[in-house]
């Protein structure tokens, strides 16, 4: 028998392995397509789990578990992701290391279950408040693994809720996965609520000034970690004069298209934000400032949720000519992207 560490598994199975390797010991969740397989697989492989009455309870049980110092997580999707925002904003305010895997559904409402990038705004800014959370957008099985582990480590290191934003296509499709070697050790869990000295943790304030002082502290902490967390991936940007910006599963499709076009000597490059919040603004602005781009194309499976993040962050003087390929709730295949780019004059 040939020994190999290659596995032919689904994205959901990859996520479960990553959660376990990150040190997670408990999951709370409610079945919802397309994230149910995470719940099922976690249970099937011996993970401690409670299937709650709804996503609200799952979210707050995760918050309670994390407050007590256990590495806990949840997985959800679409309408469940909306309910999860209730606990997520409490986690932002009280700095609770709450980890969520969110599989996007087509929306609004219950929509579809496989292919969508319409929960970008919800994941990044879904709560009442300022979006003090870390959001990762994996584009491959490898990234599903590494970013899920990062979601745990950065939640426990920095005390912000983290969301791995994926979709049904990434979770349900099978692919060849080789577990990457990680040099970094897991950040241990801890609790404020030890045995000695009573801790009193508020979440609601009697005066505007008290809340403002608290927000200033959180904002300062968030700004401090921004450059450490924000991550992007680039392909062929040095030689290119057309730049594609895409993330997640669409980012993977765009990468295949860019590789094909480069074989045909087209000067096309890819910028893929790996973190959506904080957005990798420094890298994008640096890249945009390096040359005069003929065209920048933002491609996504939504009506501009990624484009809005990009526009918020562009700080270059001469704004390049920007085109948009937007197909909310639809898969965008490499061939379609290639055709689109070939037609650009």
């Amino acid at each position: 028998m040939i020994k190999s560490n290659k596995q032919f598994i689904t994205g959901a199975e990859v996520v479960v392995q990553a959660c376990r390797d990150a040190g997670a010991t408990m999951m709370y969740g409610y079945p919802i397509t397309p994230s149910s397989e995470i719940l099922e697989n976690w249970q099937k492989t011996g993970g401690k789990c409670l299937q709650t009455e709804d996503e609200i309870a799952a979210g707050f049980a995760v918050a309670g578990g994390a407050l007590a110092g256990e590495k806990v997580f949840t997985a959800t999707s679409g309408p469940g992701h909306i309910l999860m925002q209730d606990a997520l904003v409490m986690a932002e305010a009280m700095r609770i290391p709450m980890v969520t895997i969110a599989a996007q559904r087509g929306g609004p409402s219950s929509g579809t279950v496989i292919y969508s990038q319409q929960e970008v705004t919800l994941a990044c800014y879904g709560g009442n408040g300022e979006g003090f959370r870390l959001v990762y957008s994996p584009a491959s099985l490898d990234e599903l693994y590494t970013l899920t582990r990062r979601a745990f480590n950065e939640a426990w290191q920095y005390g912000f809720p983290t969301i791995v934003l994926t979709d049904g296509y990434a979770l349900k499709a099978q692919g060849i996965f080789t577990k990457p070697k990680l040099l970094r050790k897991n950040i241990p869990a801890k609790t404020l609520f030890g045995r000695d000295g009573a801790v009193h943790l508020p979440n609601i304030f009697a005066t505007e000034e008290e809340l403002y002082a608290k927000l200033e502290m959180i904002q300062t902490d968030y700004a401090k970690i921004k450059t450490k967390v924000e991550t992007s991936y680039e392909l062929g940007t040095k030689e290119a004069d057309i730049l594609v910006i895409a993330h997640g599963t669409v980012g993977a499709s765009a990468e295949a298209a860019v590789l094909n076009l480069r074989k045909e000597k087209k000067k096309v490059g890819l910028f893929r934000p790996v973190t959506l919040r904080p957005f990798p603004a420094k890298n994008l602005n640096k890249l945009l400032a390096t040359k005069k781009w003929k065209k920048v194309i933002i491609i996504e499976s939504s009506y501009g949720q990624l484009a809005r993040l990009v526009h918020d962050e562009i700080k270059v003087k001469n704004l390049p000519d920007i085109l948009y390929l937007q197909k909310p709730g639809l898969g965008i295949e490499p061939e379609e992207i290639e055709e689109y780019i070939k037609k650009i004059k």
Binding site: F60, G64, D86, R195, A198, N203
Partner: protein
Amino acid sequence: MPIQSAKFCPGCGHPIVLMMLRKVLEERGLLKKAVMGLDIGCSLLGWDYLPIHTFQTHHGRVTPTMLGFKRAKKDMICFGVSGDGGAYAIGWQSLFHAARRDEPVTVIVVNNTVYGMTGGQIGPTGINDPSVKPVYGPELLRNVASNEAYLARTAVNDPKQMQEYLSKAIDAQLNGHFSLIEFLSFCPTNWKTKGIETTKYLDEKLKTVFKVGEI
């Protein structure tokens, strides 16, 4: 952090419940093992009132937060403090399922029949409209809770019974079972009652609608 004086309205029933809880925990030597989550509404004002770990949550969400805490740290005694609205209206779904699953947490419901902090709107235990039945929390939960779960109702003008029930609820949690005590309470601010009228309303009205005792 120093213990602050609480900010409840004069004549409120909430601090009586918290004082009794402190007394029972102190007598049993359990102060250091206790952690108290607070629902939103008047309950949240107890956040720095007792020398035990305390944190505020969201409206209706204290029960799932505390069961998550308890499952992660089984050596601690977990209390969720809520009003009748937080427990029986917005939090009912979670409360019902926590009782059904026999989660080893203790839920303290302060029932004054109104949403106090938001201005006295009628709660799910409101008794002024004869066409609408009030929620009988412990009685309803008895149908789904385990036999070992402790469910009871007392009133804030009966400190002896309050202490006895709190102690039994803690025992249930220590034995791995769900417990809930509803405390019939008063809210003179929103009831617009003065002096003796307040306790009279509790004794002559509330106690006739909501039966006090173990359920």
